[in-house]
């Protein structure tokens, strides 16, 4: 039977998908444009025997997530840019202590308090760890409400499998938009794979310890090596990207909301006879380098489009490695680029070829 399509706001659909993925604990602090997530969770979690806590601050919320994740529960927090900055210390602790958890960032314009309109200027923060120390988090950058919903379950699964915090980066638009969505089947949190490392009360076994303090340098280096081995495995196995129109001469590279705008522009460019495709990273970390290898079989140039003044473009340049020119176009501070603007940039790329390097 075909499952029912329902019209849902991005924030609410994400929250419902989390509940269906077995998330029973939410800790947060209000901030626009993600307030529908805590609002929805405050109503929904008690219905399934879960707990919603509006913490006294973002710092408290992330540390509650650290605690719930350490106790083995599926749990999450959500915020938007300035609030995510406050959570970075806790995310670093979670990465070090190998505690799973989901962190959602409905990004808004920055720096500072910035604005409340959609942005992608937290890319560096999300993909480089964000807090202190030598760590990474898995980062998803969905482009539609449906994709975001589908990635929530995957995010929880990967967080558990690799024992690492996972981040979903949306933006104000993806949080606020309503789109038809097919929701996943619910998962029973009691039937998930066991977590023998969790601090669940040491009855009948030796105590478990969740900790990120390693005063002996060699011991701390050993932790870093173990984490890096895990990150290498993630880099090798978890890259996700979509290539629209493979075999094209030129590629636009964009993720999230920007990718759907670029998809429209790419369609218009192709109607004009231009050989252009779209390379859309879905995992922002690990960055989908394999997709670039595929695109580079035909690509004569790339145009990175972001709602920032150029962050992901660094990863595009690293992946392309000088084998083709990489251009950049960005709007920032909450301004969303239009398909017409992107189309203009595509035309320029094709006309100028190597000149635009």
């Amino acid at each position: 039977m075909k499952r029912e399509r329902v019209l849902m706001k991005g924030n609410e659909a994400l929250a419902e998908a989390a509940v269906r993925a077995g998330c029973r604990y939410f800790f947060g602090y209000p901030i626009t444009p993600q307030n529908e997530i805590p609002e929805y969770m405050s109503r929904r979690l008690p219905e399934v025997g879960g707990q919603f806590v509006q913490a006294e601050s973002e710092v408290a919320a992330i540390n509650m997530l650290y605690g719930a994740g350490g106790a083995g529960a599926r749990a999450m927090t959500s915020s938007s840019s300035p609030g995510i900055s406050l959570k970075q210390e806790g995310i670093s602790y979670m990465a070090a202590a190998e505690v799973p958890g989901l962190i959602v960032n409905m990004t808004r314009g920055g720096p500072g308090l910035g604005g409340i309109q959609p942005a992608q200027s937290d890319y560096h923060q999300a993909t480089r760890g964000g807090g202190h120390g030598d760590y990474r988090t898995i980062v998803f950058g969905p482009a539609t409400v449906q994709e975001m919903v589908d990635l929530v379950g995957k995010a929880f699964d990967l967080a558990d499998r690799y024992r690492t915090p996972v981040v979903i980066v949306g933006d104000g638009m993806l949080g606020q938009i309503m789109e038809p969505v097919v929701l996943p089947d619910p998962v029973d949190p009691d039937r998930l794979p066991p977590k023998p490392w969790a601090t669940t009360g040491a009855r009948g076994r030796r105590p478990n310890l969740i900790n990120s303090l390693h005063l002996a340098a060699a011991e701390c280096e050993e932790l870093n090596r173990r984490l890096e081995a895990k990150y290498s495995e993630i880099r090798a196995n978890e890259q996700m990207a979509e290539i629209v129109h493979p075999g094209a001469d030129y590629f636009v590279v964009a993720y999230g909301t920007t990718a759907r705008i670029c998809r429209e522009a790419v369609g218009q460019a192709r109607e004009e006879g231009l050989s252009v495709g779209l390379l859309r990273p879905i995992t922002l970390w690990p960055f989908p380098t394999k997709a670039f290898e595929e695109a580079l079989e035909t690509a004569k140039g790339f145009l990175t489009v972001e709602m920032s003044l150029g962050q992901m473009v660094d990863d595009v340049r690293l992946s392309v490695g000088g084998r083709a020119p990489v251009r950049f176009y960005g709007r920032t501070g909450g301004v969303v680029p239009s398909a017409e603007e992107v189309l203009g940039e595509i035309r320029r790329m094709v006309e100028e070829g190597d000149e635009g390097r």
């Binding site: 019209l7 444009p33 409340i116 938009i177 759907r260």
Partner: protein, 186 residues
């Protein structure tokens, strides 16, 4: 087929609900659709608006700078969006709360006293349905029966008694729009 519609009015005039109903109806008719509100510190008395995109294919940008149609519920909204409408596009205007007409002559204009019509029906709060009815008369992107079905599904139980009034409002809007379009072609 792709149609981008902006609906705009004062907070409280039901523009967000109007857009959501259109989006629900379009989804139920098997279309792809997005609904995006203007969110943020909108000024009291200013324009609160939403953008609905209905398409046969997955919607790229849910934003538009050149809407195919605008449903304008007050004067600040007309000032904000009049120039944005695509040449040849549709403009539904609530003349009850707008003291001027658009200056453009390249639009299909349906100007009707939406709020007064709603008040005559018994409740000014169904003004949004009058406007939506008028719009669907000019651009039948969804059937009005689908809008009513959507309303049935989304109205909470204790508001169900308002369904007949909403149906009347949709019809009244359509009727007024038809009259005005005929007058112009006559």
């Amino acid at each position: 087929m792709k149609l981008a519609i902006i609906m705009s009015g004062f907070g409280g005039q039901g523009v967000m609900s109007m857009g959501q109903l259109l989006a629900y109806a379009a989804m139920d008719e098997g279309r792809e659709v997005t609904w995006l509100p203007s969110y943020g510190p909108e000024m009291r008395g200013g324009a609160a608006y939403c953008t609905v995109v209905v398409s046969d294919r997955p919607v790229g940008s849910p934003l538009t700078t050149r809407p195919d149609a605008c449903i304008i519920m007050n004067r600040p909204s007309l000032d904000k969006f009049e120039e944005a409408v695509k040449p040849g596009g549709i403009l539904v205007l609530n003349t009850s709360l707008c003291d001027r007409l658009p200056g453009r002559d390249d639009l299909t204009l349906v100007a009707l006293p939406v709020t007064d019509i709603a008040s005559d029906l018994g409740d000014f709060r169904v003004a949004n349905m009058v406007a939506l009815g008028a719009f669907l008369e000019v651009e039948p992107v969804v059937k009005s029966s689908s809008v009513l079905e959507a309303l049935k599904k989304t109205l909470p139980e204790h508001r169900r008694h308002l369904l007949p009034l909403n149906e009347k409002a949709l019809e009244a809007g359509a009727l007024e729009a038809r009259k005005r379009l005929q007058d112009r072609t006559a």
